[in-house]
Symmetry: C2
Subunit: 307 residues, 2 copies
Amino acid sequence: MSLLVVGTVAFDAIETPFGKTDKIVGGAASYIALAASYFTNDINLVSVVGDDFPEDFMNTLKKQGVSLDGLQIKQGQKSFFWSGRYHNDMNSRDTLDTQLNVLADFDPIVPDAYKTCDFLMLGNLMPSVQQKVLAQLTKRPKLIVLDTMNFWMDIAMPELLETLKGIDVLTINDSEARQLSGEYSLVKAAQKILAMGPKFLVIKKGEHGALLFNNEEVFIAPALPLEEVFDPTGAGDSFAGGFIGYLSKTKDISFENMKRAIIFGSAMASFTVQKFGTEQLIGLSQEDVDERVQDFVDLVQFDISLI
Amino acid sequence: MSLLVVGTVAFDAIETPFGKTDKIVGGAASYIALAASYFTNDINLVSVVGDDFPEDFMNTLKKQGVSLDGLQIKQGQKSFFWSGRYHNDMNSRDTLDTQLNVLADFDPIVPDAYKTCDFLMLGNLMPSVQQKVLAQLTKRPKLIVLDTMNFWMDIAMPELLETLKGIDVLTINDSEARQLSGEYSLVKAAQKILAMGPKFLVIKKGEHGALLFNNEEVFIAPALPLEEVFDPTGAGDSFAGGFIGYLSKTKDISFENMKRAIIFGSAMASFTVQKFGTEQLIGLSQEDVDERVQDFVDLVQFDISLI
């Protein structure tokens, strides 16, 4: 079952209480594709970079089973760059610099072979760009997952609402769920958002875990309590990658299986935050992933038989 | 197995975004005893009130199986009073008024019949008062659970640290765990706190659930996502009451059983926040409690078989 991943492939420069990086590879689609690659090797990428982007990382993606036929390389242009500084609590951050570069006029071109994908992950991008991808597909995917952020709610809400009508799963964080719905209670927020189009809503709460909503059903997964969260950048995207990677592998989009996908997504996110950038997501073994998932099982399982 | 509950029985006046109350009955021991009463009817209370305290509520406690032989009623004096206003997010609040009244010189007297209790719940009180209770016991209880707060860390840290040496389970919230340990990571905080005396640490995170730590083991329980959190007052105490009530009923203080106790505690807390004060904790049926616990089971259970 082929998975199409659309999103940024870019540079980040990150400061955390534990240190700072120069320009390192980042971008939503990088994290999504890497995380998904532990579940399927039929991954296609649509994105754009400048001619400054390291071939090394492209080779890493290819080695992980990611096809790059849809990656535009713009000669004479620079890749998207974001720089940010995390506060001590690691839950909030300041943007220090944003250089759109190639992203300013990104026109996604979906190669013909990708147009019949079974699973589609639309990483955080301008909603109109996400729509352009949808418009090029020749077959409705089995599942469309979309990630977005408060920035688009601020400046492109009508386009975002239009895009939401055509998708299956929306992934946002708790403050974005509140902003999108106008409701403080996440239960009420979920009800309103599910009425906007998506059949499933994933609310990401960082160190407090994630919630999955569908009709009257709710599922909660914790985040793994870690001794150190080194760099939260890409955690949400790694979560999304593990989530859709697992669904794509199992071909089962029932609520029960989505619960499992949430756990696998949480496991992938827990790797990402342990090092700067994408480093920890490269070269994991199946045992590493399984052990981490087992940690989640141990963390939440209990046995109550009600009399 | 007898349960001894020590803590405040008092008046609160509460403002939330949903409304405000006049003086209503509150106090840590009220919530603890009521929540525990759904699991055992062998509950003894040690506390103090003034002659202004309503006999109605004392009768309610008695009806729920709580023995009041250790409740001092100070003639000519007033009960402890606290008044607070919750912010819109319900996670933070301002104290508007605190009148210690009878609590100012509270000298807890443990009736002889209570001195051999099997389970002891020391609700939030000055650490030296908690120690006075411990000093009167003629037999080491099977389990001593202690709740405290940042206020005592600010003004009575040496006494608190001394008290912690003799207890089994400490329940505090996440910011208190950070303050007590000087560590931001809750995993590191737990390691340090478990070295201070308690064998188990429960970190209460309000709407984000609760964590249980013991040696290398961790368990996480979510809070129930509710459409409305009406009044968070007493949630932590109701949690503690359900927790120790369940342990007292089952007489099993293993980590596995404490996980279950955490779920029952979380269930009791989820009732409390649905109305002002203790109202929702009175007159629940066994079915109500079982149904609520089942909600927690449904909320977190998933089935992953790793290949």
